[in-house]
């Protein structure tokens, strides 16, 4: 662990993710919600970072900005030196497809599809050859320990298994950045731990940068190398794990 963190901290390459005074406001009734209010941060390649804060602190909104699902009101979000704010919606879609993998609290699998089909879906958007897809989705499912349940539907799986499928789907296009929004929120603590172990192992072996949104500080402390605390849309403090 310490090796990995040392390596990440001592890296001299460009940051994987860099936000500069990024804001995201949206109107609600007569008032303006400042969901993200001037956050500047940098995340190195290969780092495992936890975004912590109360609900409504803006951590999910910040993650969505980094994921290219949302656009900042002002400021910039640079991922591998490309400014997401300046991308067209088609470019953002390509970015989400090729550079980012996402895992959600509610898994967000498509219930009508088998787990293989779910994992193959991102490759359809990426126009990966049909012959290659089966192989890659199987590899990806094997990596998360579900190599034997390819034809099951999500509803036939437990929560932990569904989150593994979701992880396999996030990895299948070999992204450089894995974004996890409360990945353990719907799981019991042991299953949650298993998932985070898996995420950490995979990110290490694939050299991925991981940004995880969570409100479970204790769990975050066991896996993340750095913690960024948000409150009211502002960055309040940063800690590096000892």
């Amino acid at each position: 662990m310490s090796e990995a963190s040392n390596k990440a901290m001592s890296s001299t390459t460009d940051p994987a993710v860099q936000t500069q005074n990024v804001t995201r406001f949206y109107p609600m009734g007569d008032s303006l919600i400042r969901a993200v209010d001037g956050v500047s941060l940098g995340i190195e390649p290969g780092e495992f970072v936890a975004l912590l804060g109360q609900s409504g602190s803006g951590k999910s909104t910040l993650l969505n900005l980094i994921a290219g699902l949302d656009r900042p009101t002002s400021g910039s979000v640079l991922v591998h030196n490309r400014d997401l704010a300046k991308m067209t919606s088609a470019e953002l879609a390509r970015y989400r497809r090729n550079d980012v993998g996402m895992v959600f609290q509610a898994f967000h699998l498509i219930p009508s599809m088998t787990i293989t089909d779910n994992v193959e879906l991102p490759m359809r958007f990426a126009e990966v050859d049909r012959g290659e897809r089966a192989q890659r989705s199987r590899e990806s499912l094997e990596r998360v320990g579900l190599g034997k349940r390819l034809d099951h539907r999500p509803s036939q799986l437990s929560g932990g298994e569904q989150q593994r499928v979701s992880l396999a789907r996030a990895l299948v296009n070999r992204p450089r950045l894995l974004l996890a929004d409360e990945p353990t929120g719907n799981l019991d603590s042991r299953t949650g731990e298993d998932i985070l172990n898996l995420i950490r192992d995979i990110s290490l072996s694939m050299g991925m940068t991981v940004i995880m949104v969570t409100h479970e500080r204790l769990l975050a402390e066991r896996f993340a190398q750095r913690f960024i605390f948000l409150a009211d849309g502002k960055l309040v403090s940063e800690e590096v794990r000892a």
Binding site: S89, A90, M102, Q105, S112, P122, R124, A126, E127
Partner: protein, 457 residues
């Protein structure tokens, strides 16, 4: 996304709500079926009409009549021409002149007179008309019993089946080969010296044809051999000579000098000699009809050809097709609303799914195309089903009319014809309509904000 993947996902999605999408597809198919049924009916009726016209052998024919006649084919014509009194009469000289026009192959009078057939001591009234030898090509003689005239001056007759039954109710075909006696009125020119007492005043004394002062009608009898019996009136019942029950070769009728209605009138009008009510001018080639018609118009006669009739017929069918099309499209318009409704529902239901797809890399265009493909697939299936359904409706229409015609003892004819182009056009149209219907739902799906759709559990 590739076309294959779009189609694959679209079909999967459609199968997710089988009932709803199935009902919508059936809705489209009903729309397509009604459109196809209507247009096919239009096509069928048009073909029926043109088949009748073509079979009637009228396309290469110009009908010529004198402007002196009371009844014209075109009333507007009368206004722009000199007074009928000054118009030339359709006499032998005119006939010769027309015969010598370019591209004219045959000029025959249309002769239709009253006559009586004496059979077994009873008299049977019927109109006698003269047919040229070219009438043999007419469809009425396709299935005739017996033979056509042996030559254009033979003492032979062809009878209409109805008339034959009147003569010989039990076995009308036994008449073929037998002699019948025709009684008719012969037109006899009055000799010059008798003219002084002529009851009818012919004002023109300049002529020298021998019957300047009128004519008398003398009862005559002529034995004729029955050579054939036909079921249908020749020329589709559309010409003066069609409306007869006893048909003779035209030269025979001329030779017998049968008194015609026009003789009396032309005599009153002061025509000098024999005139014709109508001359039938056959043209070498239907394309030359207009030229011949113009040439005869130059001679100040009234002309009529099927070209005139087909012009108005085409206009009629264009309007008919339009109406049938509008009527048929109504159901398709309703089906379009069903597609929009179904897809809007699907967008609402699949909000989350659309958000997920966007989060894992689908572009707005991908989402839009997916819904378009779903709409198009429903349109295609609906189109196919509609063709089948339309075909069924058409068969029913044809069967119904066949039964109806059969009851009236008319030969069955298809009134509903679905040409191949209509099959293709219906499917393409169905897809296009479905895509247009998918426009709004698809763009609505594409505009969904993934953050919003993924927000709440």
């Amino acid at each position: 996304m590739t076309g294959y993947d779009l189609l694959d996902l679209a079909v999967r999605n459609l199968r997710q709500s089988k009932l709803r999408n199935g009902l919508t597809t059936i809705g489209i198919s009903v729309g397509v079926a009604s459109l196809v049924a209507m247009l096919s009916l239009g096509v069928g009726l048009q073909q029926l009409a043109t088949r009748r016209l073509a079979g009637s052998g009228l396309f290469d024919t110009v009908f010529v009549s004198s402007r002196q006649d009371f009844r014209g084919f075109d009333r507007q014509d009368d206004a722009k021409t000199p007074h009928p009194e000054q118009a030339p009469v359709l006499d032998e000289a005119a006939r010769t002149k027309i015969t010598h026009l370019a591209n004219v192959t045959e000029v025959e009078p249309e002769i239709r007179v009253m006559g009586e057939v004496i059979e077994n001591g009873e008299t049977h009234f019927g109109f006698v008309t003269g047919l040229p030898m070219s009438a043999r090509e007419n469809e009425a003689f396709d299935n005739m019993k017996g033979k056509f005239f042996s030559n254009d001056n033979a003492d032979e007759a062809i009878l209409l089946m109805d008339f034959a039954k009147e003569l010989e109710s039990k076995n009308p075909t036994s008449l073929i080969g037998k002699q019948i006696m025709l009684r008719y009125g012969e037109r006899q020119a009055l000799a010059q010296e008798q003219g002084e007492q002529a009851p009818v005043v012919g004002g023109n004394s300049a002529g020298s044809s021998g019957d300047d002062y009128g004519f008398s009608v003398v009862r005559k009898q002529q034995p004729l051999r029955v050579v054939g019996i036909i079921d249908q009136e020749p020329y589709g019942g559309m010409r003066t000579v069609s409306r007869g029950r006893i048909f003779l070769p035209v030269k025979t009728t001329e030779r017998l000098n049968m008194a015609q209605f026009s003789d009396m009138r032309s005599s009153l009008r002061g025509a000098s000699g024999k005139t014709y009510m109508t001359l039938t001018v056959r043209v070498k080639d239907p394309a030359k009809v207009q030229g011949v018609q113009d040439a005869i118009n130059q001679m100040n006669f009234r002309t009529f050809s099927v070209l005139d009739a087909t012009k108005s017929l085409r206009r009629f069918f264009t309007v008919l097709d339009l109406f049938l099309g509008i009527f048929g499209s109504l159901a398709l318009a309703v089906a379009t609303l069903a597609i929009i409704n179904t897809l809007v529902m699907a967008v609402l239901e699949r909000r989350r799914e659309i958000g997920v797809m966007k989060a894992i890399g689908a572009s707005d265009q991908d989402v839009k195309k997916l819904f378009f493909t779903e709409a198009g697939a429903m349109g295609f299936l609906g189109g196919l089903l509609g063709i089948v359904l339309g075909l069924g409706i058409g068969k029913a229409i044809n069967f119904g009319t066949a039964v109806y015609l059969h009851r009236r003892q008319l030969p069955a004819e298809p009134v509903w014809i679905m040409p191949l182009w209509l099959v293709g056009a219906a499917i393409v149209f169905s897809i296009v309509v479905s895509l247009v219907a998918g426009l709004y739902p698809a763009s609505r799906a594409a505009r969904l904000d993934p953050v919003q759709t993924l927000k709440y559990e």
